[in-house]
Symmetry: C2
Subunit: 258 residues, 2 copies
């Protein structure tokens, strides 16, 4: 197995968007991009000196590596469509077993980048942790050699570890973002601008990346300040969905410190 140089993409969503651009910037050739939505494939291809592919069976032709970054329900179908492929196929999904690619081609694996990607927001790829799984040691070496040009943070993780990691990331990222959304929405009724929360959001995250968030928890529930909790619950009475979350999460925090 020779070094990876040409890389094809199936998918043109947030993950494909950042991976393709990042790999191109590190000198890889993006040999082709297929997407169920051809216009999206074209947009991404234009931005990384590549070409949009209309027929998926032609996608991998010149690629040493084909990266499948499509909705999870379509991964197996897309892999099956790239018939007789001689390179390495990987998918990028946290919660999908590597074995979904078994039998589709000889060399396969997973490249899972643990980051929140939005097309319009630049990401420092060098700091994104990549979790690698591979069908063979040889295939793993080739993947690591390629990813090492993109990021300084590589880990091996099997499909079970990756599933737990993905759930963990949903809490640490997707759900904390929802807390920002709710915070913003509640702030609106106070006639204060969203910016007043920025230092708090930034500092809470900064602390959590320097120490144990369990020890750094603050707030009424941490202090078992039932007076304040009751006042907050009363103020949320007209928004029962937020009151429900407030009550549930406060109870969980209190219990952590009993």
């Amino acid at each position: 197995m020779h070094n990876i140089r040409n890389i094809a993409f199936a998918g043109s969503g947030n993950v494909a968007w950042h991976l393709a651009k990042g790999l191109r910037m590190q000198g890889f050739v993006i040999s082709g991009i297929w997407s169920r939505n051809y216009a999206n494939a074209k947009t991404l291809a234009d931005s990384c000196d590549s070409v949009a592919i209309e027929n998926i069976t032609e996608l991998g032709l010149n690629a040493d590596l084909t990266i499948i970054a499509v909705p999870v329900k379509s991964i197996e179908e897309v892999a099956s469509a790239i018939l007789g492929y001689k390179g390495i196929i990987v998918h990028t999904a946290g919660s999908v077993s590597m074995n979904v690619l078994k039998g589709k081609c000889e060399h396969y694996g997973v490249l899972y980048p643990l980051q929140t990607f939005s097309k319009e927001i630049p990401v420092s790829m060098a700091e994104v942790p990549f979790f690698i799984e591979s069908s063979s040691a040889e295939c793993g070496l080739a993947l690591k050699e390629a990813v090492s040009k993109l990021s300084g943070r590589m880990y091996e993780a099997d499909s079970h570890q990756r599933l737990l990691l993905h759930i963990s990331a949903v809490f640490a990222s997707n759900f904390s973002n929802l807390m920002y959304v709710i915070g913003n929405e509640l702030l609106k009724s106070s006639d204060l601008p969203p910016e007043v929360l920025y230092p708090l959001i930034a500092e809470t995250a900064r602390k959590a990346t320097t120490g144990d968030p369990l020890k750094l928890q603050t707030g009424p529930a941490r202090r078992n300040d039932t007076l304040t909790i009751e006042k907050h619950m009363a103020a949320l009475a007209s928004q029962p969905k937020y009151a429900e979350i407030y009550g549930l999460l406060s109870k969980l925090i209190s219990n952590n410190y009993k």
Copy 2:
């Protein structure tokens, strides 16, 4: 009313700790610190060229401003104990009305710093938003003049706005920290180090301080990826309290994008 120069503190918790040190660094004299726990008052006093006061009735003697930063259930009692005080009394609580200080002395108000404070973690006070409420315009001016030496971010907010702001902060900070706690705990079972989540936590917060988190939401629930959500719920079956939160928050996210 002359300029504020001498400041006394009732309380020696996280808020008093950072305010007293920050004000001392900006040239204010911390004239005395009282706390229900004398040893804590002594520790804080030693760190900001002040003295610990044993008898609360002697606290405000030489102070232009007395800052009450005690548990909310004790604010009124502490204010009542500083009899015949001629300076300004403020409390620092988000969810307590200014009127709790009415009748305790002539000049009173609220200084609410919107940040998460832990004693052992340094905070850049210059970036902490301060929310000010005061019993008179004259008192408000004196408070603003003093706080402006500490922070570049000052806002006026009445007691109702401050209550909403506090609830908003509980979501954006205390509850997002709980999401980090749960993320960490789930990660433990994967044999991967907590550090793998750091870039994700940092980036999620960074994005939320540059744009609207509602638009920047990512993850399975945002994509309505029921396959992944079901897989995650199944994996959390042995931890029902986390499964309950996962289900509730995922539903809320999905509904935001329907």
